[in-house]
Amino acid sequence: MMTVLEKTIDGQGRYREILGCLLVSILAAVLNMLPISLGWGLDIILGPFVIMACVRVMRPSLLVLAAACSGAVSAMIWHHPWAALILTCEAAIIVGLRARILPIIADLAFWVVLGMPLVLLTYSGIMDMAPHTALLVAQKQAINGLLAVSCGELAYCLYWIVYKPCQSAFPRIPMEGVIMASLIVTCALPVLFFTRVVSLQDQTAIIDRAGIRANAGLMIANLKIAARLPHCQKGHNSGPSQLTQDLTQCLQNVKGAGGNLGRVYARPAGSTTFLPVGAPIEPGDSELVTRAARTKGGGLVVAQAFGTPLMTSLAQAAVGKSGPGPGKIANLIILVPVASQVMLAQNLQSRSISLLLFLIAALILIVSVFAVELKVAMQRVVDKAMGLSRAANENEMVPFEISEREVFSEIEYFSRQISDASLRVADQQLALRSSQRQLENIATKAPVIIYAFRYGSGNEPAPLLLSNKLWEVLGYPPTTFKGLGWWRELLHPDDHAAVMREKLAPSVGQLKAKEYRLRRSDGQFVWFLDSVFAEQSEVGALETVGVMIDVSEFKIVEQQLLHADKMASLGRMAVGIAHEINQPLQIISLLALNVQKGIELDRYSPDNVLAKIESMQLQVQRARKIIDQMKMYGGNYGAGPERVNIAQVVQSVMAMVAPQFQASAISLHGERLSNSAEIIANRVAVEQILLNLILNAHDAVLSTLQHSRQHGVVTVACRREGNSAIVTVSDNGGGVPCTIRDRIFEPFFTTKPATEGTGLGLGIAHGLARNIGGDIHFENVADGAVFTVSLPIAT
């Protein structure tokens, strides 16, 4: 069995552990069915011995399962579940405390605090056993349990001595445990043996004596009934029912049928019921009679409760004997009560068992109090036996003795600590492995790429973990790249500068996120969002843990959204643009008409015509300029981030929106636009931020001043504040109502009708500003709102 359990904790553990549990359960169940009788129904059961031998090596849950299984099987023979339940509790408590308390001590504590009260409660309270018998059973159970634990400890110790397994799964057994176990077994075995021999002898003697009395009682009853019978049967010979009636009457009149030896019952021929001869004396008799009738030749009969024989109700114990009766009586049964003799015999059992229990408890207490002294003494005995004391004799004895004692106690203390710790380690290993498995599952199956690096003394960090998901996303076989050079190799050239600007190893406790592109095996680029967290590892090195998410699709949607917003802005400028283009068209049209008419009326010389065509060309250029300006803005973000003069961007945006403001008769002023502050950003993104803010101010002014005589004014101003370039866009459009001030940066939030606004403008401006590392906020002033964009100035 031990070899089966070997290595259960490591290796292909689980399967072998379950197999071990199964074997232990079966063995314990079989042994439970082969009890050793102590007389009067008191049995020592052997199943727990097997269970307890495995306390130190089996996984706690499996040990309790084995105890429950073996008990459940045996409960069918015991006819009640209580013993099995209590034994399972015992195993659970011992194994639960195994890392802290010696199993023997835990077991003693269990029986005193929980086990014996439970036995009394269930046996006496639920199964109606006489209280003193229940107490006897409780004591026996405690001894049974303690003996099982002791034998288990000895068996484990023996295994350890023979095989010397040097694994954490097989902890060393402390010496006081071995001493306790040996002493308990030494005390218990002779006492139990004695009890068994004496009780069985008593049992035989009592039955024999009662049997003799029963035989005498039967003879007397036979004679008395025979003498009485002729009076009853006079003149009546008709039918069996009449006969039974007569017999009943007759038998009731037979006084003291068995003398004072016992209670007599008779069965008429042809009937199955026994009739009491004389009045029935005890209430439980009918069951005893039925049992006695089944027992060939007679013997000890006891009423049964829950199918448990003998112990349950010894107060009714009797020896029954049956024999043939006179006349029409087919059978006679006599019950000779032996309860008082049985009680006497049980008292002896009770005394020896309680004495033994007391002795064991005392032993455990003494050994645990004097554990160190005992071990020193034992060690010396062993030393002497091995002849090692010779050297000690030559030295001075006294100081050596003291130091030896101290050293020994220290060593013992540490070895105890180590053995306890190894048990705890085994438990924690299980928990650790389970959480490790869960983490591994997350790392390999999550739709993100997880990595961890350690920064040592070398230039390159050492990878601790890098999920293969990365290669799956990028489409390379996992073994394509060696080292960490692949990262720089696959990085998009445009992202190189931006990514490298940041320190490769972030500082401790900092969470950093960056976006960049890596080249896929098919040459396409995948956008990754890479968030990395740095911490000091337990060994002092800097470690980073990061998550990479494929955000390509988000990027595409984001770009589409930005583009949609730009198109919407252009749409919002349509009125101004249309006017601005119609103007040159009108001139061109007039020039063309004049050329036509001039030639028709023959008033134009070629010089006149050429001059008109020259003018047309100029007007075409004028229209084209407007279109160019819009086209530039409408295009995609072609270029990456660059140095951008913020004042220049403000000017170009103002030029773009000027026609719209003219069309709406709103003034647009620029202030301090000679500022030379530069930021690093995508030019189109900055244009989009400003355009959205200015158009927003335009719309606000237009909607509030439409019906008033006040003149709308929007002012755009640049300034520098510390390391930030500030652009303010102020209007006199009445300001943002308090009810919506928390929502204006939300995407798709709009106060305009669905046909006029997408609700994206301010949200997108806000997002773009954040991307550059800036921010947008606004405040209400006397007659309008001021939106302030702050962007970090390039160093």
Binding site: A578, Q586, I587, L593, S615, A663
Partner: protein, 121 residues
């Protein structure tokens, strides 16, 4: 009828001048003003002006306001008709004074001759 003149008002002098040339090709006498305020003065003073063709969007006074102000200032019995030109796409008839012809820039020659014809006869 020959005495009756058309006043052309536009901020953009090039448009006004080209239009004057065109109108003269088709036999209509035209005078040019590139300031709305000047134009207001002139139409009241010059009895020969029977029609004002004005741009809508102008710096000092927009076309609609020019029309209503001129109408208020005109003496009894003086009839001046108005044509407004605009390059804007969002101007509707309701925002304009009544009895005004609105032409979108760039207009067709026929639209203009028809409009002028009905006014000048």
């Amino acid at each position: 009828m020959q005495r009756r003149k058309v006043l052309l008002v536009d901020d953009d002098l090039e448009i006004a001048n080209e239009m004057k040339e065109l109108l003269e090709f088709i036999g209509v006498t035209a005078v040019v003003e590139n300031s709305a305020l000047e134009a207001r003065k002139r139409v009241i003073e010059d009895q020969d002006i029977a029609c004002v063709v004005t741009d809508f969007r102008m710096a000092e006074l927009d076309g609609a306001k020019l029309v209503s102000e001129v109408r208020q200032a005109l003496p009894e019995g003086r009839d001046v008709r108005f044509i407004i030109l605009t390059g804007m796409v969002n101007i509707s008839q309701e925002t304009l004074p009544t009895d005004v012809l609105l032409l979108a820039k760039p207009f067709k020659l026929e639209e203009m001759t028809q409009g002028l014809g009905s006014i000048l006869g």
